[in-house]
Symmetry: C2
Subunit: 220 residues, 2 copies
DNA sequence: TATGTTTTTTTGGGTAGTCAAAATTTCTAT
DNA sequence: ATAGAAATTTTGACTACCCAAAAAAACATA
């Protein structure tokens, strides 16, 4: 049985692999993301390799094996179902559930997680719009454009926010800029590197390019 | 911040202290209850002493300090609220929630636990009738008699079952012998060391003295 | 009270995860 | 093409657990 530390490393590699288009993930990047020393990662990569969860080329980086990817997807499933459960059933705020789920994802049993899934009506996405992997570990990522990449002055609906910082999420909530809501990008300024967003029913907001790229939208 | 291992040791000492009428708890007993080697306990007792959670007399035994007792009570509160939550809100069976709570008690945040408490209407006891300590750590144990110690042929109501073995709990459920239900003890036989119990609406059942002593009742 | 049994503590050793700093490899630029 | 910078791995050491077995203390009984 994998430890919760192992599960965290797998989640991290999984995430970086995605934001990398399948390139190898460097140990340095993992160290940075996990907040540990580089040497710690090298050691861990060896044990993950021995467990058959990753493929590791020294000095090059790592990639998940099928087993590693499936395991990561299961952790992600637990994380995201817990997040949705906390918002939907427990009435918690979408800005506070990430940290809670970060711990609970290692503690809830399969029985309990499937009970939650049932109770929530087998949901497809969590409160941030992140897709929930199936019980078998299948995960379908959408390739929605972000507020940075979409057309101007079109009616958009927000599908996903890929940033878990509490303060950022609270700000978005205040501006009614959350998954399920609608908005229009009015301007994109390459000099100041900002976009001007007008949420449906919320105060307009100016976002830096990087922040804007973390809010994904689907056209109709 | 105490580790979950430390929390488990404190819970154990707390429990043994109670079943001991405040005597010192021996390291051997702790080893047996925790399922670890005796030397492991001795080592842990030293670190608990250094953290100010217990008082430790070598070769004599240990007792909780006030801080240790408060911490143990908080863990117990988390455990029991989680158990009740799993039964009441998640619809799980009272025989399966103990193991789940054993893990979750170390993972749920204070915020979440207070949310559960609210949702459940500030309950006083968990599904097994065990009292739930207050948020401040106060714990009031009842001194109800057991099926072994109570009068014969009196109408009783079950208040508590102090045995967490799944199979035992399932058996009691089948016989409708759970907290909140009624029953009568018809005979107590000192030769076979059994009592004959007739639950209200359930099949009669013959229990060994030890098993009977774990089912507590309140007279009207 | 002396001996043998039981209980407890000590000792030496193991795993998982971590860090700091030294050593090594790879990358980058001129 | 090679020096210097950057990234990575290695090494030695630490904490929190755990065990087995030796040593010590406490207890029980003849």
């Amino acid at each position: 049985m994998p430890t919760s530390t192992v599960e965290d490393y797998l989640k991290c590699i999984h995430r970086e692999e995605r934001s990398n288009e399948g390139q190898l993930v460097s140990t340095g990047k993992i160290a940075q993301e996990m907040g540990v020393a580089p040497g710690t990662v090298t050691a861990m990569m060896k044990t993950l390799t021995e467990s058959g969860l990753i493929r590791y080329e020294p000095y090059m980086g790592v990639r998940l094996t099928d087993r590693g990817r499936t395991l990561a997807a299961h952790v992600l499933r637990r994380h995201r179902l817990v997040e949705l459960f906390l918002v939907q059933i427990m009435g918690m705020d979408w800005s506070e559930v990430h940290d809670e789920a970060e711990v609970l994802e290692h503690a809830v049993s399969d029985r309990l997680i499937e009970r939650m899934d049932e109770m929530l009506g087998h949901p497809k996405v969590d409160p941030h719009g992140d897709p929930i992997p199936s019980a078998t570990g299948a995960l379908e990522e959408s390739d929605d454009p972000s507020l940075l990449a979409c057309a101007l002055n079109r009616d958009l609906h927000i599908t996903r926010v890929t940033d878990q910082r509490k303060e950022f999420l609270r700000l978005l909530e205040q501006h009614k800029l959350m998954p399920g809501r609608r908005a229009v990008v009015e301007t994109r300024d390459d000099l100041t590197e900002t976009v001007q967003v007008r949420p449906d029913g919320g105060e307009p907001l100016r976002l830096g390019f990087h922040a804007a790229s973390r809010i994904l939208v689907g056209r109709e």
